[in-house]
C-alpha cells in the first residue's frame, strides 16, 4: 500500500475539543448537525485535499444528528475511523456513514441521559451544594472540577475507543453492556434521589399537638444550678443526658415531631410522589413550582407551616 493518510493524535484531539461545542447551533430542523460538522472539520481538512471531496464530506456531515452530547464521543470516534478508511480508498458510501451515526445515536442517548443528567450530575451537584450552603467555596470548586475532569476524560477516552474499534463497536452495543450501564445508573440514581428527598426537601408542620409539663428531673431546673462556670458545666451535663426536651419545663410536641416518629421525611416523600403523579399527568413543572410557593405562603399565613 502506498501512502496511507492517517489522523494523528493531534487531529483527534482537535476534533475532541471542538466536539464540546456540539450543541451550539442546536436547531429545530436538523438539531446538532452544525456542531457535528464543526467538530469534523479538522479531520475533513486532513483527509481530503480535493475540493469536491471536501464539499461532499461537509455536506454529508451536515445531515440530521441528535444525541446526548457526551455519549456522542464514541460515535464521532467511529465516524473518524470510517472517514479515514474511505479517504484511503475503501468503498464506504454516504449511506454507510450516516447509517452508523443514526444507528448509534439512539441507543447511546438512552444511556447518556440516565448516567449523566440523572445520576452523576445530581450526586456531584448535591455534594457541592450541601457544602456550598454553609458558604464554603469548596462546594462549587468540588462540583466544577470533578464534573469537568469526568466529562473531558469520558469524551476523550470513548472517542479514542470508538476510533480504535471502528465499526466493531456496533457489536459491543448489542452485547448488553449498554443495558447494564443504564440499569446500574438507574439503581444508583434512584438510591441517591431517595436520600436527597429525605435530606433536602423540607416541610415542617408547626401546629402544636400537645403541651406537657414535665416532672422534676426531666428538665433542667435553671434556678437551682450552682453559680458561675460550675453552673454551666452542670447544665451541659444535664442537657447531655436529657436531650433537647430538657431545656424547658413544658414539653411541646408539634405535628412534625409526631410525623418524624413514624419515619423522618415522610411528608417530603409523599410530596415527591404526588408531584411524580402530577408530572405524569402532563402538568408543567413550572406550574407545580409556582403552586408550591403559593402553598408555602398560605401555610405560613394560616400558621400551619
Amino acid at each position: 500500500m502506498a501512502d496511507q493518510i492517517k489522523l494523528s493524535k493531534a487531529d483527534r484531539r482537535a476534533v475532541c475539543w471542538r466536539h464540546q461545542f456540539l450543541q451550539g447551533s442546536w436547531n429545530y430542523e436538523r438539531m446538532q448537525n452544525g456542531g457535528w460538522c464543526y467538530a469534523m472539520i479538522p479531520a475533513i481538512k486532513k483527509l481530503y485535499s480535493k475540493k469536491e471531496d471536501q464539499v461532499a464530506a461537509l455536506k454529508r456531515h451536515l445531515e440530521f444528528y441528535n444525541t446526548h452530547p457526551y455519549v456522542s464521543a464514541p460515535v464521532i470516534g467511529v465516524t473518524l475511523a470510517l472517514e479515514e478508511e474511505r479517504a484511503n480508498g475503501a468503498p464506504i458510501d454516504d449511506q454507510a456513514i450516516q447509517g452508523v451515526k443514526v444507528g448509534m445515536m439512539g441507543p447511546l442517548a438512552g444511556v447518556g441521559d440516565p448516567v449523566f443528567w440523572f445520576t452523576v450530575r445530581p450526586i456531584l451537584g448535591a455534594l457541592g451544594a450541601s457544602i456550598a450552603m454553609s458558604g464554603s467555596i469548596a462546594g462549587p470548586l468540588l462540583f466544577f472540577i470533578a464534573w469537568n475532569v469526568i466529562r473531558y476524560a469520558f469524551l476523550w477516552y470513548t472517542q479514542e475507543f470508538g476510533y480504535r474499534v471502528g465499526t466493531e463497536i456496533t457489536k459491543d452495543l448489542s452485547g448488553g453492556l449498554l443495558g447494564k450501564i443504564t440499569a446500574g445508573a438507574s439503581i444508583l440514581g434512584m438510591f441517591i434521589i431517595g436520600a436527597l428527598v429525605e435530606r433536602w426537601v423540607s416541610i415542617t408542620f408547626t401546629p402544636t399537638v400537645s403541651k406537657i409539663t414535665q416532672q422534676d428531673g426531666a428538665y433542667i431546673d435553671w434556678s437551682k444550678l450552682p453559680k458561675g462556670t460550675a453552673g454551666i458545666k452542670s447544665a451541659l451535663e444535664q442537657y447531655d443526658s436529657l436531650g433537647a426536651t430538657g431545656l424547658n419545663k413544658v414539653k411541646v410536641t408539634t405535628l412534625q415531631d409526631n410525623l418524624n416518629q413514624l419515619i423522618p421525611g415522610l411528608a417530603a416523600v409523599l410530596l415527591t410522589l404526588l408531584i411524580c403523579k402530577l408530572l405524569k399527568k402532563g402538568i408543567s413543572p413550572i406550574v407545580i413550582i409556582i403552586a408550591l410557593f403559593v402553598v408555602g405562603v398560605i401555610g405560613r399565613l394560616c400558621n400551619f407551616m
Binding site: 464540546q20 461545542f21 450543541q23 451550539g24 447551533s25 442546536w26 430542523e29 448537525n33 452544525g34 460538522c37 472539520i41 464539499v55 461537509l58 455536506k59 452530547p69 441521559d113 440516565p114 440523572f118 450530575r121 445530581p122 451537584g125 448535591a126 455534594l127 450541601s130 456550598a132 454553609s134 467555596i137 462549587p140 462540583f143 466544577f144 464534573w147 469537568n148 466529562r151 447494564k180 439503581i187 444508583l188 434512584m190 438510591f191 441517591i192 434521589i193 431517595g194 436520600a195 436527597l196 428527598v197 429525605e198 426537601v201 415542617t204 417530603a268 410530596l271 415527591t272 411524580c276 408530572l279 405524569k280 409556582i290 408550591l292 410557593f293 408555602g296 405562603v297 405560613r300 399565613l301
Partner: protein, 272 residues
C-alpha cells in the same frame, strides 16, 4: 454596582447562556453561576450560599425529549444579581435576600425557556447558511456560523443580566424590606418544598419496579445523619454492583437448571 462589576457580571451571564445550550462545562448550574456572580460583585460567600440552595432545587432540571425543564442559566444569573442588589442597598437580612431571590428566580426561569426556544428557531437559518458554505468548501464560514450560534445563546442571558444591573439597588432593598414577614416566611417554606419537583422529574425518568426498592433504601438510610453524601453514594454504588452481579448469576443458573428446581432469582434473594 460599579462599572467593572457590571462588565464581569455580563461576562459570567454570557458564559452561563452559552452553557445553557452546550451543557459541557456547567457554568449555568446555580452552584457555579451564583458563585461567579458573587465573586465579581464582592459577595462571594452569599453567592456560594445562594448557589447551593438553588442547586438543590435544580438538581433534576434537564431537558429530555419533550419534557421542558425551567432554564437554570437565567434563573441562577438573575437571582444572583437580584440578591447582590438587595445586599448592596443596605440593611438586609442575608437569609431573606437569598430566599426571596430564589422565589424570584422561578418565573425568570420560565422566561429563559422561551428565549431558548427563540434561539433554537433562529439557529435554523444559521445552519442553512452553513449548507451554503459547504457548497464551496468554505471551512471558515461554517466555523463562524457555529461560533455565532453559540454567541446568540450567550447573549440570551447577557442582555437580561445587563438590564437587571441597572435597577437601583435601593429600590430592590426597599422592596425586600417592605415585604411582610408572612410573605418572606412563606417563600422560604415554598423554597423548601420546591426541590421535590426536580427530584420527582428524575424519579419519573428512572422509576421501574426494579429500581423502586433502591429509592426506599436511599430514603430510609438518609435519616442516619452520620452517613455523608459520599458514604451514601458508595452504598448506592455497592448495591447496584451487587444487584447486577446477582442478576447475571441468576440468568446463568436459569440456563443450566432449565427451570427444574424453580426460581433461581428467588433463591438468591432469599440467601441475600
Amino acid at each position: 454596582m460599579n462599572g467593572l462589576s457590571i462588565i464581569l457580571v455580563i461576562v459570567v451571564a454570557f458564559l452561563a447562556g452559552m452553557e445553557g445550550i452546550l451543557d459541557e462545562w456547567e457554568f449555568h448550574q446555580p452552584v457555579v453561576a451564583c458563585t461567579l456572580i458573587g465573586l465579581v460583585t464582592g459577595h462571594l460567600t452569599e453567592g456560594v450560599m445562594l448557589g447551593g440552595s438553588l442547586q438543590m432545587m435544580a438538581l433534576g432540571w434537564a431537558n429530555i425529549g419533550a419534557a421542558v425543564a425551567p432554564d437554570a442559566a437565567l434563573a441562577s444569573v438573575a437571582s444572583a444579581i437580584i440578591m447582590v442588589l438587595a445586599l448592596n442597598g443596605g440593611n438586609v437580612n442575608t437569609k431573606d435576600a437569598i430566599n426571596t431571590s430564589i422565589a424570584v428566580a422561578v418565573p425568570l426561569s420560565v422566561a429563559g425557556l422561551f428565549l431558548t426556544m427563540l434561539c433554537r428557531t433562529i439557529a435554523i437559518p444559521m445552519v442553512h447558511a452553513m449548507d451554503k458554505c459547504a457548497e464551496d468548501a468554505n471551512f471558515r464560514g461554517i466555523e463562524i456560523w457555529q461560533i455565532l450560534a453559540i454567541c446568540l445563546q450567550g447573549i440570551r442571558i447577557a442582555i437580561p443580566a445587563a438590564a437587571l444591573c441597572f435597577i437601583p439597588a435601593k429600590a430592590v432593598t426597599n422592596a425586600l424590606n417592605s415585604m411582610p414577614a408572612w410573605l418572606t416566611g412563606g417563600m422560604a417554606v415554598g423554597g423548601g418544598m420546591v426541590a421535590a419537583v426536580g427530584y420527582a422529574m428524575v424519579v419519573n425518568m428512572m422509576a421501574t419496579a426494579e429500581t423502586w426498592p433502591f429509592f426506599i433504601l436511599g430514603f430510609v438510610l438518609a435519616a442516619i445523619s452520620e452517613l455523608t453524601l459520599i458514604a451514601l453514594g458508595l452504598i448506592g454504588l455497592s448495591l447496584a454492583l451487587i444487584y447486577l452481579g446477582l442478576k447475571e448469576e441468576a440468568k446463568k443458573g436459569g440456563g443450566n437448571g432449565g427451570g427444574g428446581s424453580g426460581d433461581p432469582l428467588g433463591d438468591i434473594i432469599n440467601d441475600y
